[in-house]
Symmetry: C2
Subunit: 498 residues, 2 copies
């Protein structure tokens, strides 16, 4: 960022100055004041940054068709006030280290109330996941779903980036693909990624999305109308609850036990159900095969469309076998499968996908084209190359080993360091689901722990009734290094003990 | 793509084989047939590609717990039928050049009718823009909105890519940004891109989107409910018509003349209006300043939110001045501005943005997080670096010169080569809007021209009533090289003449 700032041009072309002063009222009072106010506003808005060179007073006077004296006087006052500095023989510049007050020159009515009356939906009125943005700066980030810079395959990724930066490759990705995906990525998904999960899909049965988040939101848009009965898990992924809740009032909490969702009347009454059978979010419960088959049979009998969010797929931990996903057991095409590279590679890339029968994918392509055309093609191409070069599977193996070690350390430390708590982590999961003692409130622990550099996730957000999740919290271990785990848990134990 | 295929591993791990044969019914009839059918399906689905090595018959028999003879017999029959080949001392492989019939192994019920009854929305039932995917292979692509490989700043782009591939930079973009944008890109937009259009925005007043398409679709989602009165242009951008039409029935066609939309009662009755005042889509009409100011006054009086889609901004053609956008004239924060890098740089990157008052951006961030979290951060970072290095403005200057020459050639050739037609192209537009003779149907011209290598866009899609657009077509010149223009127009002239 510093490099970029230092090489950024520090002078503006004339058109910026004329537009900045376009409101100048030459018949009004105090041209000098008007000019000064505009410059101060621009500095406070951060549009004129320290070191930017202003036009000479003669030049600006010409551009604005005002007397040169007016500009000279305005500049002199701004220099006296410390907004500008004059450097001999080189001109007048914006002073360094101006107080930076982001604001706007174009808008006056920032009234939230005025705008809120105009919104057709109010997503901000829902309870939102609130993850710390500065997690990299905390020593003990027990977070789920972030990436670990120490594991990211930097050199291999760069090789894939280089390979897709040739002139010929750029021709392949720079254009508007309309509603298409990169054929290379579809091929790699079909031939290398999905078969390992037992999914054998034709190219017309896959669509790439901006992470699994967009996969889920498009499926809600496609399948959920105002009267659709939608089954969701409780506790479950809060964003699915929010997406569905914005559209229909017929939201049904699926019955569940320690093995996950039950194939009972609640499920049978649904039009669509959103499930995380691989590792239930957030409890990590792995649904046994028999339950999976029973769920499918119930779905077939009652025409329930199942959306399977397999968010943690691919990243098997050493020695922990993964069960076949629902989609691989589905022989009526009634399971719609959602996958992602966010957990296994990097969330910042935003690449996910949907596997579904061709009529569904066809409709999703039209919907996606309308919503945003297609995910950026250069990233699709880089990822396809990364997989084709064998780097993805190598990365999965390496990451599986690292994460298995971390899971083992947590398993060893938890009984000693968090004796007040019970926990669960099923095979392959990248987090522990922890329940605190009777009067415990994990939201207070989150705040106290953060002050001591420990980041954990409170459980309430996963529950429809926040109070039902009061005692729970999630400990992820994809971002925390081995040698920090014990010390972080020790702090948590002390805080819980009070 | 060839490189990738040749380096792709040509053998699968055991788990792929066990999952591929997971349906094997050992109590059923004809294990040999079941095995053959599964392999043939996998080949036809393209999951087993030419050159893939199969497990030895002994190994597969072990994996599937069947007699080795069964596998040997199945392999032999598939070799006889040409699906497999045996290579001495190296094993059994999928034969090359198998007929490729994309299908699926997982789904049986591909019935479109069955699925269509489950969809809450049917985007595919709307009229869609239908652009040829193979445009690069046609000699005369008079297309709008595609990019020209010959102009793309390959080396400078690569420099920006390299600069953002360092370990430190990867740490900056690989994580989950939740609802944030890359601060570098926001800074470059605020300080270098927007001021040239007279927009001086604070960082809280900008959000990055997956191209202007996502900007428009999010604004529809945020502002348009079932009863919202929405003004759109007719002819206008078909995707806005489709997006709005999926949500509200109160769609109003704004009155317009040759200078664009009028500030009359229709506009005054709207809650929201979607406008392209910079270059009206598709007529290219540039709205004069006085009309822009009158529109704004009407919008203020009647509380109409204006969404300004400034899709062609930045790319000024040599010597053709651009007027200030509506947003730069708006002093009540009632204009929501949509911009994009698709036209000026590359549509495949999918980077656009919205400038709006902070309460609107705040709500859009929550909405965007729910829909897809955030646009890929690596691309935001690359673009920010590209702009900061001065490459973007250099690219705009170069492209402006090239496009101005093409526009001049079209201006010269049209009277001679298309004497039957009239046309319009206002200053700065990157397309001509052409009207054919009385009985003319541009849809027929599109088909006939395509067969002779000339790609043009029929005008009907832009009109609410397709027949009203029958005589119109659009000639874009962002993708066609100078020396092809006259020959392409000559073919069009011959076809129109019949």
């Amino acid at each position: 960022m510093n490099i970029q700032k230092s090489i950024a041009p520090k002078a503006h072309p004339d058109i910026v100055w004329t537009r900045m002063f376009s409101e100048l009222d030459r018949d009004g009072q105090g041209l000098n004041v008007q000019i000064r106010r505009t410059i101060v506003y621009a500095i406070q808005a951060g549009v004129l940054t320290g070191g930017t060179r202003l036009p000479s007073s003669r030049h600006l006077a010409g551009l604005l068709a005002v007397a040169r004296n007016t500009v000279t006087a305005a500049y002199q006052l701004l220099i006296d006030e410390g907004f500008l500095v004059s450097r001999e023989r080189s001109g007048i510049f914006v002073a360094a280290q101006q107080r930076y007050v982001p604001t706007s020159l174009n808008t006056c009515d920032d009234d939230v109330a005025q705008w809120s009356g105009r919104f057709a939906v109010r997503p901000s009125a829902q309870r939102q996941i609130n993850k710390p943005r500065d997690w990299l700066e905390h020593p003990y980030p027990f977070l789920f779903g972030q990436f670990d810079p120490a594991i990211f395959p930097t050199n291999n990724w760069r090789e894939a980036v280089r390979a897709t930066s040739s002139v010929k490759e750029i021709y392949g990705w720079a254009g508007d693909q309309i509603d298409d995906d990169d054929p290379d990525l579809l091929e790699q998904l079909r031939v290398q990624v999905l078969p390992k999960r037992g999914i054998f899909a034709g190219p017309g049965e896959i669509i790439v999305t901006i992470g699994s988040q967009q996969a889920l939101s498009m499926l809600v848009q496609l399948f959920v109308g105002a009267k659709t009965a939608v089954g969701i898990e409780d506790p479950g992924y809060p964003d699915v609850r929010n997406m569905v809740g914005l559209v229909t009032e017929d939201v049904r909490h699926l019955s569940a036990d320690a093995q996950g969702v039950l194939a009972d009347d609640v499920l049978s009454g649904c039009d669509v159900a959103f499930l995380t059978v691989g590792h239930q979010c957030p409890t990590t419960a792995v649904m046994p095969i028999a339950r999976r088959k029973a769920l499918l049979e119930a779905a077939y009998r009652n025409h329930v469309i199942i959306v399977e969010d397999d968010y943690e797929a691919d990243l098997a931990l050493d020695g922990e076998a993964e069960l076949p996903c629902l989609k691989s057991l589905d022989h009526h095409g009634q399971v719609i499968y959602v996958g992602s590279f966010s957990k296994a590679l990097a969330p910042g890339l935003r690449i996910g996908y949907i596997v579904a029968p061709k009529p569904v994918i066809d409709e999703l392509r039209v919907l996606r084209r309308m919503l945003l055309r297609h995910p950026p093609t250069n990233n699709q191409r880089i990822l396809a190359t990364f997989i084709a070069l064998g780097h993805y599977h190598q990365h999965l193996r390496k990451t599986g080993t690292v994460l298995a070690q971390r899971a083992a350390i947590l398993n060893n430390c938890l009984p000693k360091l968090l004796p007040q708590c019970s926990w669960r982590r099923d095979a392959g999961a990248k987090s522990f689901w922890v329940e605190g003692p009777e009067a415990f409130d994990s939201r207070e622990l989150v705040r106290a722990a953060r002050e001591r550099g420990v980041l954990i996730e409170a459980g309430d957000i996963f529950f429809d009734d926040p109070d039902a999740g009061r005692r729970f919290f999630r400990l992820g271990f994809t971002s925390i290094s081995e040698n920090k785990i014990a010390a972080g848990l020790k702090i948590l134990g002390e805080l819980i003990e009070g």
